[in-house]
């Protein structure tokens, strides 16, 4: 509505990243900010659900090498971020292997896979 940047769509049902790719959500997980730096595990657990493996089997690459998770945690869930401002629609999205991962400021971590290849 008010903000449209970098292909990030506001609609929850049909998010797009880039003009040509079509993404469908395969997993999501709600992250409860507790100030203990657990966003990394929340993201990995969501990816594990998408891959249908146990979280410790999500291996390469380490998330550390993909995205600066503590920076996202500070920006969205830091001690100075009030609960009301987190009701907005801030979203960080990044690629992890074949997946598109979105971290929303309301705490939802969503994993999408490309709908192009027929992956059953």
């Amino acid at each position: 509505m008010s903000e449209k940047t970098n292909g990030g769509s506001e609609s929850d049902d049909e998010p797009t990243s880039g003009a040509d790719a079509h993404w469908s959500q395969v997993a999501q997980r709600h992250y409860e900010p507790d100030g203990r730096g657990k966003l990394t595990t929340a993201i990995v657990y969501a990816i594990a659900e998408a891959e249908d493996v146990s979280p410790s089997e999500v291996k390469s690459p380490p998330l550390y090498e993909t995205v600066d998770v503590p920076a996202i945690e500070d920006a969205f869930f830091g001690p100075n971020v009030s609960d009301t401002s987190r009701q907005g629609v801030g979203t960080v999205e990044f690629r992890y292997t074949d997946y598109l991962v979105k971290v929303r400021s309301d705490g939802w971590v969503q994993v999408y896979e490309s709908a192009e290849p027929a992956q059953v």
Binding site: R36, G37, T40, T41, Y45, P55, S56, P62, Y64
Partner: protein, 199 residues
């Protein structure tokens, strides 16, 4: 910085700055980087000393020691202290470093079990698979690569073995200086903040 009280910044006497530096350096070796922020106070003095020397080739070597041209850059001391702060900046990394005091080589699974036991205040046998896995994941995806980046540990991907690296010694020295002992209150120490130690 719009204070209308007190002397302007450039009237702060050098003696004062040096005194503060000495005090801070005594408690926190390597903290001088923060002094560099206001280091412009000292800079003219250092420069004039430098210019007083004849540009003799023999004396140039000694002049370099006292007043290098890139004086504003962080000192080597600071660069060496940074891994300490980074390594100890999260409770799980502190736990991990504590275990390195005990042994210099660990498997990732053993580490995860040990840290989960500390965090949940149970014995290692009582750690559940869920608790272990949660710690394992955060070590693998966040804390271990961070400590590898800081040169505190190395991580062998195929065997998942962690061993100490070149910066481990200063981190472990700092931990010991904070009162670490292996047989008592490890969790209390690991949880406590660095700035609790004043002297």
């Amino acid at each position: 910085m719009l204070s209308d009280r007190g002397p302007p910044e450039d009237e702060v006497p050098d003696v004062f700055v040096d005194e503060v530096y000495l005090q801070m350096n005594r408690s926190y070796p390597g903290i001088r980087s923060s002094i560099h922020v206001r280091g412009t106070v000292n800079a003219p003095r250092v420069l004039s000393t430098d210019m007083a020397n004849e540009p003799d080739s023999d004396e140039e070597a000694t002049a370099d020691v006292s007043a290098p041209p890139d004086e504003q850059l962080p000192s080597p001391d600071f660069l060496e202290i940074e891994p300490v702060y980074e390594a100890l900046g999260h409770s799980r990394r502190r736990y991990l470093c504590y275990t390195l005091l005990e042994d210099t080589e660990w498997s990732l699974t053993d580490l995860a079990t040990k840290i989960a036991a500390w965090e949940n205040d149970v014995s290692e046998h009582a750690v559940t698979e869920e608790q272990r896995e949660e710690v394992y994941v955060s070590l693998y995806h966040a804390h271990v690569p961070k400590l590898v980046d800081e040169g505190v540990i190395t991580f062998d991907e195929p065997t998942e073995k962690i061993t100490t690296a070149e910066h481990a010694e200063q981190v472990l020295t700092a931990l010991e200086g904070m009162g670490a002992s292996l047989d008592s209150n490890q969790e209390t120490h690991a949880r406590s903040e660095m700035d609790e130690r004043e002297d």
